[in-house]
Amino acid sequence: MKPILDVDNLTRIHGPGCPACLDVTGPEHNTNICRHCGSVVAVAGASFRLHKGEVLGIMGESGSGKSSLVKMLYFDDKPTSGRATFHDEGQAHDLFSLNEAQQLRLRDTRMGMVYQNPSLGLNFDISAGGNIAERLLMSDELSYRVIREKATALLARTEVPPARMDELPRNFSGGMQQRVQIARALSTGAPLLLLDEVTTGLDLSVQARILDLIMELQEVTGVSMLVVTHDLGVVRHLTTRTIVMKYGRIIESGLTDQILEDPQAAYTQQLVSSAL
């Protein structure tokens, strides 16, 4: 399998930072907060590789750094140090050395993100179809007819009733808002999709259907995905490999079924055995 994303020693510290920060935080110290300078070490030295067509789970509880990690990859936040290389169309993009225009260009056309909170990923002042049109327009599609057709097809794919495509998303249920987000994320045919707790907070029956939809779309399109979640069920169903994070560090990584059935690290054992 070819790599699509290489993350190398990614670190994010909120606050002034000091030489002791990394040494006094982490799973052994049971804290994210540096006792010398008060900085919060959200992510420390995270390294992993995502392969083309793979679904990688990033699992952890609150404060694990999983969301911070993905935020940096989507340019919603800047790392303190570290690198991420995105391999796309024969090129290797050193993501954090690109200028803002280049980063946003990649983000708009070659990456997709689905947020836990739909208001972060959708524009609530334009229609559902308009949200998809916006992303298509950002990737230079300028034919109205093509935009309309693609938006209709994508919403149909994500099971949003076509009769509602011209409505504002604020009138939709949470599950349907997520579907619009997914449709929007897929609209440019981006090879990399980031999903941040996308089913958290939804009703259980809706969760199951959305997970199923994501799985089917992934199988059909072959898109590579990073799935951030604290939910073991989501990890089991969607991912083939998983990394487990605690207090900003990756403490274990491996095949998903192995992580869930034969966890090696202490925290992973604790996490897995806590499932209701």
Binding site: E100, A133, M138, S143
Partner: protein
């Protein structure tokens, strides 16, 4: 420091500088104009001075005109095409008071500087003429992004997708683009401007023109320009044609003409006459007058 021509006196007997503004103010305005011309479509921030009329009545346009006028210039002021509206007349009188030597004129072809609100004259302007627009809202992105800092960055990246989304929503709702004035227009392939509340009819006049177009927003403190021979393209989808007002009668399909001079190619004002009938007349008064003159001369 240039010698100041002291011209005339106000009612209290104090002396004005030429063109009301001090020379430093004029210099800053000219620098801003120069920068605007060098970067077509880019909104240049400037220190907009307090003027003796309220904001919203053309202070931006006035500052540009005052910076440009010299004693040899001829100046015309129009408002919706008319020289005799209260606003236009007041501004013209102000110029007369503060710029001795400058000729006031009603004729488009005689003016070297024309200050306008909401219309471009029908007569194509020459390379030695400047059209100064009074602009209420300089930034076309203000309708889609309330944060000024973000708008700046969006302009820098030419990130205008959200403007096109507005067009998309129009097409979905009405099957056509319904923007009637302030139509977003792309200048020189990069910046998109708000061309001020001119009707769609006038937007094509911006494209590859002989004259210089300057836009001044006094309240918002921005100057921008469309230099001569510059591309100015109203934005649309590549499968939706930009259309101007047709002035076709809904029943007969015939294009209305001016009741006064008979022009069938000008932008027409539609109103009810004293008898209550619906009539059409050239919005550009000077153009109408000129056509009438020619018609009368021909007889």
């Amino acid at each position: 420091m240039h010698p100041v021509d002291t011209m005339g006196q106000n009612r209290e007997g104090a002396e004005y500088g030429f063109a009301f503004l001090d020379e430093d103010a004029k210099r800053e305005l000219r620098r801003s104009i120069f920068k605007a011309v060098c970067i077509p479509g880019h909104q240049v921030p400037y220190a907009s001075r307090e003027m003796p009329i309220a904001r919203g009545f053309g202070t931006g346009g006035m500052q540009l005109t005052l910076a440009l006028l010299g004693p040899d210039d001829a100046c015309k002021v129009i408002d919706q095409g008319a020289d005799d509206s209260v606003n236009a007349a007041n501004i013209r009188n102000f110029f007369a008071l503060t710029c001795p030597g400058v000729t006031g004129t009603l004729r488009t072809e005689e003016a070297s500087v024309i200050q306008t609100r909401h219309r471009i004259p029908e007569l194509p302007l020459r390379a030695d003429q400047i059209l100064v627009f009074q602009v209420p809202y300089p930034d076309p992105l203000v309708v889609v992004e309330p944060n000024a800092a973000k708008r700046c960055r969006m302009h820098g990246r030419a990130d205008y997708a959200r403007l096109w989304v507005k067009l998309y929503e129009d097409m979905v709702a009405f099957d056509e683009i319904t923007i009637s004035h302030r139509y977003p227009t792309r200048i020189n392939g990069h910046y998109i401007i708000d061309p001020s509340p001119i009707p769609r009819f006038d937007v094509p006049k911006l494209h590859q023109a002989e004259c210089l177009y300057l836009f001044g927003a006094g309240r918002e403190k921005r100057i921008y320009a469309v230099p001569p021979h510059t591309d100015a393209v109203p934005i649309t989808f590549n499968d939706v044609t930009f259309a101007v007002e047709s002035f076709r009668d809904k029943t007969t399909g015939k294009r209305h003409s001016c009741r006064r001079c008979g022009a069938d190619d000008s932008f027409l004002d539609e109103f009810l006459d004293d008898a209550g009938a619906r009539v059409f007349q050239c919005s550009d008064a000077a153009y109408c007058d000129m056509r009438l003159e020619r018609l009368e001369a021909a007889e």
